[in-house]
């Protein structure tokens, strides 16, 4: 296969419609697994994505491509996956293939992880700082987040030198911005706002003789 051209920047989210569908599949998968008591469904799905699909991109292409018929895909799963996996997981794959949703497998896995985190009262927190966090400051951030927001944060750290100093913490859709860059911007805005009137009246003094 030729090398995939990169057409979209990384930070762009997936199609929100597809994410909603994936979320439905993921929740059904987990609840079915719970009712059938079929071992560690999450681990099996994770291992399938990481070890099988990631290791064999051609196999992935076969399963997701539109040019391969459903029947062929189902036969493929029967021959390759069935002997090496639980019956429950094979059924899940077959449902995905029958509904033509195989390409959502990555999103489904993401949602499964999220749901597990939710159940364990964990939440992802993106932290941007001007310099890499030290162990001490990391512990402090975790402790404070836990106190204030009441969940176990899973930190996703990144370094952004343009912040100059301070932290930008994002929890869900909410951003807590205490970076030096933003503070300086606010200060600059306030200074110009306060002095604007003075500048204007000073200018008027020159233009009007009275």
């Amino acid at each position: 296969m030729s090398e995939q051209l990169k057409t979209r920047p990384d930070q762009v989210l997936e199609d929100p419609g597809a994410l909603a569908v994936a979320s439905q599949y993921a929740r059904s998968y987990l609840s079915a697994a719970a009712s059938q008591d079929s071992g560690d469904a999450e681990e099996e799905l994770g291992s399938f994505v990481d070890d099988v699909l990631a290791g064999h991109p051609d196999f992935r292409a076969l399963l997701t491509s539109d040019s391969v018929g459903r029947k062929a895909k189902l036969d493929l799963v029967d021959r390759v996956i069935s002997p090496r996996s639980s019956e429950f997981f094979v059924n899940f794959l077959k449902v995905l293939i029958r509904h033509g949703r195989m390409e959502l497998i990555d999103e489904i896995r993401e949602v499964v992880i999220r749901v597990r985190e939710e159940l364990a009262n964990q939440q992802r927190v993106q932290i941007r700082s001007s310099q890499p966090l030290t162990d001490k400051s990391r512990q402090r951030v975790v402790r404070q987040l836990k106190d204030k927001l009441g969940f176990d944060p899973i930190l996703q750290e990144s370094v952004d030198e343009s912040l100059i100093g301070g932290l930008v913490i994002q929890v869900g859709d909410t951003v807590y911005d205490s970076s030096l860059r933003t503070r300086l911007k606010t200060l600059a805005g306030r200074l110009t706002e306060r002095t604007l009137y003075e500048i204007q009246s000073g200018r008027d003094r020159f233009s009007h003789s009275d």
Binding site: Q11, P16, A20, T174, S178, T186
Partner: protein
């Protein structure tokens, strides 16, 4: 004057020392799709409908569609600077514009940013662009006249303070001229004016501003300009922004006049937004709520009750028709919302009857309530007389022999049509209008050749102003044609006629 460097340095230093940087909290989302003045974003899970958003670079947006998995945003600025993946911040505020006296005499864009190069606007007052109209209890009937200074309008389709009067007609029939004359005539009356240019050519907006400035009308007028080069979202919100600026004065008990020039262009901008947002198209591809778009705007024009301060907002929306088609979607909508319409016709315009008002189908549903007593008395039969004249004129065109009485009625009609003509930017005081129409209706102009009527009208007005100023002052003061004033007027007119005869 010399600045004291130390003083400034110390002021800035104390500012910095006092500054406590608070942690900024904001809801964010990401742009997943952008183009044609709109963006689709994910995240923003608590965004409100109509909330103001901020894109990178300070560009503002307005939430328009709240969908299950995404938010549709209209971009109030240059959408080319926004990229896929950009962060959008919610502000928790509704879209609002600066208001107050600092806005008077300024030309601003629909967000209140100055466009006239006269420096920043110093005002801290703001008002939300979208504001619910006053309810039933907060209103009172329209009774006080708003003089347009145009004889044909003040006599036959009078406009009251708090009324919505539509100005409708084809292109190049003088719609804007009627509105501008009305603004010019508000000089010295304390009525604050807002002129909203929506989807107009920038050159014609500049022309209007220049006319207002020349006639000293810019001192009490705010011009909100969104030219056809501006993005559709700005054209869409321009009338609402103008209404917010006028409301500020109205709720402070003052009288205001707002001109929307023109609402057909706004409807087209709204149609563009709605179609891009994938709202289903309806008749003429306009969205289903285009009626509400105009009705909620025009419903904001009211005469407030005395408990609320008694202020008023008079609205003059303008609609441009295509080939006289008043039964198109937008014209019928706005006709049904407003309290009457002034209908301008190209045929009349090219015949030289300017303002080209078609008297037959122009109406004011508020009617005589919004007229001074004097005007009511003399203009009562004017409309019917003119209608009878038009009928007679059509009959006379057949070349029939006419008896003397009919011929005289016909001549009187020609004279009245001539008297109702009025040059642009020359609004008349209502007392002068009364004098002219009285003179015409009572036959004082009968002996003047039709071609000379306009010149003699000017002579009459200067004659009255110089030699019978006391009578004119009484008429202005009493606002009614009392027996005493009428006698004085009659004798003045007789003196004028005898002077004409002796020439």
């Amino acid at each position: 004057m010399k600045f004291k460097a130390d003083e400034i340095a110390s002021v800035i230093q104390t500012e910095i020392e006092d500054f406590r940087g608070q942690i900024q909290t904001a809801e964010v989302g990401r742009v997943i799709e952008v183009g044609d003045g709109i963006a689709r974003c994910t995240g923003l899970s608590t965004a409100m409908a109509g909330e103001m958003l901020e894109f990178p670079g300070g560009i503002r947006g307005l939430t328009f569609n709240l969908e299950e998995n995404s938010v549709g945003v209209v971009i109030l600025g240059d959408s080319l600077k926004i990229k896929e993946g950009d962060e959008v911040k919610s502000t928790g505020r509704l879209l609002s514009v600066p208001v107050g006296d600092a806005m008077l005499g300024r030309v601003v864009d629909p967000l209140g940013n100055p466009l006239d190069g006269n420096g920043p606007i110093m005002t801290t007052d703001t008002r939300p662009v979208e504001h619910e109209a006053v309810g039933v209890a907060g209103r009172q009937p329209v009774k006080v006249p708003l003089q347009t200074g145009i004889k044909a309008v003040d006599a036959m389709t009078p406009i009251g303070r708090g009324q919505r009067e539509l100005i409708i007609g084809d292109r190049k029939t003088g719609k804007t001229a009627v509105a501008i004359d009305t603004i010019l005539n508000q000089k010295g009356t304390g009525v604050k004016c807002v002129y909203v240019a929506c989807g107009q050519r920038a050159a014609s907006v500049a022309g209007v501003v220049e006319v207002l400035r020349e006639h000293g009308a810019l001192d009490y007028t705010i011009v909100v300009a969104s030219s056809s080069a501006d993005p559709a979202p700005l054209q869409y919100i321009a009338p609402y922004a103008g209404a917010a600026m006028a409301e500020h004065y109205m709720y402070n008990g003052e009288d205001t006049l707002i001109v929307y020039d023109d609402l057909s262009k706004q409807a087209i901008a709204y149609r563009q937004l709605s179609l891009l947002m994938r709202r289903p198209p309806g008749r003429e591809a306009f969205p289903g709520d285009v009626f509400y778009c105009h009705s909620r705007l025009l419903e904001r024009a009211v005469k407030l009750s005395d408990e609320l301060g008694g202020g008023s907002m008079t609205a003059l929306p303008i609609i441009e028709t295509l080939e006289g088609e008043v039964s198109a979607y937008i014209p019928t909508n706005v006709i049904s919302i407003t309290d009457g319409q002034i209908y301008l016709e190209p045929d009349l315009f090219w015949k030289g009857i300017r303002p080209a008002i078609n008297v037959g189908i122009s109406v004011s549903r508020v009617g005589g309530n919004a007229q001074t007593k004097a005007m009511k008395k003399i203009a009562g039969s004017l409309r019917l007389d003119l209608a009878a004249f038009r009928e007679l004129e059509a009959f006379a065109q057949l070349g029939t022999e006419l008896d003397a009485a009919t011929q005289q009625q016909l001549d009187r009609g020609y004279c009245m049509v001539e008297l109702l003509k009025q040059p642009q930017y020359e609004p008349l005081n209502v007392a002068d209008q009364v004098i002219v129409i009285y003179a015409g209706a009572k036959g004082y102009f009968d002996k003047v050749p039709v071609a000379d009527v306009q010149a003699k009208e000017k002579e009459l007005l200067s004659f009255v102003q110089t030699e019978h100023a006391d009578m004119r002052d009484k008429l202005i003061e009493a606002e009614a044609l009392t027996d005493e004033v009428e006698e004085a007027l009659k004798s003045a007119l007789e003196a004028f006629v005898s002077r004409l005869d002796s020439e």
